[in-house]
Subunit: 379 residues, 2 copies
């Protein structure tokens, strides 16, 4: 693939600050420390990791997570799973129901191809029956996990009865192999006060543990219990119910998670590893300069990007249309000149990454590699 | 390029409602009526059109606009301009300053290649001098327009003095050819009350006309005066100051422009031609269903998407994470079943388009073509 005009700068000292902008940056060393820290955390607790690729959509990052010990990778979309499977990544689990005829046909094609583990959630008997028919027709069993609603209300069975009856239906389906259950509490991840996050995560895990106990008492084997996120990475394992964690954002961190995870600690347990480098393109106004990264470059569903390297202390970023940002300067600050590079911490990392074709991997002030965002836009 | 799994459905009756989702849709007939209506409007007033490609990023749409009489196409980024020039589209004008060394090198390469017209704005003497030096070194003059701040404060010279001195500098620069000025009042486009929009557009055009008069009285030729947007498409021409309009969103319309342009009229003058088709993927909750299009599929900087075809009357869409939406149903409405297609009017069309690789062009209930979003993500 075309790595863009910055490919010529790889290896040059100071290239980080001469990149064609806007450019998505990974701080390589911070990324590697984050991957190692989460791997050590999980190893220490004896829990497995299946990190979520919806954050990074990158084979290079997924492979580093697997090399550090992850048993597989989660995907939010079938398109992400296609990229990961074809890239040779093992243990792919699709965390959203695949329901339409078009998606089921693609899923069967992916399952028929050589892979190192592929599973999908199911939350409805009609979808389970459709997957069963398709897998029977394809002549290869499909691994499924029952998705349990866990506070977010987005997908998942809504009651313990529904869980039991769907699990029994999966066991009875000749085309399907029941591998376990999924329980993702997306509503807890960004609760800013750690004590509240902990109390609610504990409640949720206790409920889940009770349901699981009854399922197992009824003779249903549940080898995999998958869920959790970066906001509860150290809270979800406490109940000893989950067998694996689906953490995603820890690899990069962002403005939201930095704030949430700092509460109750001296510092967040993971470093910021993702930035957007932007250039000053207009300096005619008093009190601010205009940069070349706007709402086609940063996610707009969360807080604003946070200026970091290159920005005068105390400056802040505001959106200024599709292709521009406004760097508002504190009183008395010198205006950065035309062309100056301003880096920003990304507001919500997952949808920000999805706006970029490539990662510019930097070590110190040097561009060292360019990685494609392999699954960008893949549904 | 890979047109995706839906390419096999082209030409099949009913294919619109069997698309692999989420899928960005263009209603072909509505698009063509919008292009024809704006062309007729401009012809009637004797004003030229240089529609903005930042909305559609598509060679197919740009070529239809040019075939209908547009003298060229505007681009917000150099990357968009590269796509348009290489696609053979004439009269490309870049509406944002190109400032960094990296961008100036790419701009010179584009200007050196065969093209049918290429210009760029400039709003600062240092940028003008850098462009002049680069064009002299490249041995081919570069067409420039002076960008005038017009209420938004994003780019542009901030005073009439600065306009005059930058125009004189451009005239004196051997590497540059001064082609005119740009004045874009982005702050007026979405004012919801037409009377207020009209009053403020008139003020702005009068100020611009006065500045232009003094520039011309000083012997500076200004053949091109470019600006305007969809929100003021019929207001900007009133002062007879603009020679051309940079309208963009009229080709597709969106929730924002539909509301703004309906004020003071029986109906908006342009039709909604852009939708996202999404499928119901979970139905276990009371009062709503979950769809497969979330904040990686719709722009989140404006209002919510508006449910249209397939949605029960009175339902509304809410964001529900990266890959999901919540279709909230009115009391008593039947739940759409798993797999049902729900189309949504896009909230803010430009950044929504930028999230998709292809347009699915439909005529009635049939998918008739798939067009790439050629300049998606191009900076």
């Amino acid at each position: 693939m075309d790595l863009g005009p910055n490919a010529l700068l790889i290896g040059q000292a100071g290239s980080r600050f001469r990149l064609d902008t806007p450019a998505l940056l990974i701080d390589r060393d911070a990324l590697e420390r984050n991957i190692a820290a989460m791997a050590a955390h999980a190893r220490g607790l004896g829990i497995a990791l299946r990190p979520h690729a919806k954050t990074h959509k990158s084979l290079a990052v997924a492979k580093r997570q697997v090399e550090a010990g992850a048993l597989g990778i989660c995907c939010a979309t079938l398109g992400e799973a296609e990229v990961m499977v074809r890239g040779g990544v093992p243990g792919i689990h699709i965390t959203s129901p695949q329901v339409t005829e078009a998606k089921i046909a693609r899923l069967m094609a992916l399952n028929a191809a050589p892979h190192l583990g592929l599973s999908v959630v199911v939350d409805h008997p009609a979808n389970l029956a459709a997957l069963d028919r398709a897998a029977m027709a394809a002549g290869k069993a499909l691994d499924v996990l029952v998705d349990c609603e866990a506070g977010l209300g987005r997908t998942g069975v809504a009651s313990e009865d529904a869980l039991g009856s769907l699990a029994r239906a999966a066991l009875a389906a000749e085309g399907l192999a029941l591998r376990g259950i999924q329980s993702y509490s997306g509503n807890l991840q960004h609760i800013p006060v750690r004590a509240e996050r902990r109390a609610r995560a504990r409640q949720q895990v206790e409920r889940l543990g009770a349901s699981l106990g009854r399922l197992r008492a009824a003779g249903i084997a549940v080898p995999i219990v998958t869920g959790g996120g970066t906001g509860t990475f150290d809270l979800d394992p406490e109940g000893r119910v989950f067998t694996e964690l689906q953490v995603g954002s820890y690899v990069f961190m962002d403005v939201q998670y930095r704030q949430a995870l700092a509460d109750g600690r001296n510092a967040p347990p993971f470093e910021t590893a993702l930035f957007v480098s932007t250039a000053v393109v207009s300096v005619n106004a008093a009190g601010y300069v205009t940069t070349d990264a706007g709402l086609k470059c940063f996610a707009t569903d969360g807080p604003a990007p946070e200026p970091s390297a290159g920005a005068p202390a105390g400056s802040r970023y505001e959106f200024f249309g599709d292709e521009h940002g406004r760097l508002v300067l504190p009183a008395g600050a010198d205006k950065p000149p035309l062309g100056a590079r301003i880096e920003c911490v990304t507001p919500h990392c997952d949808p920000t990454v999805n706006l970029h074709d490539v990662y510019h991997v930097v070590a110190g002030d040097t561009l060292v590699e360019i990685w494609p965002v392999d699954a960008r836009g893949k549904r």
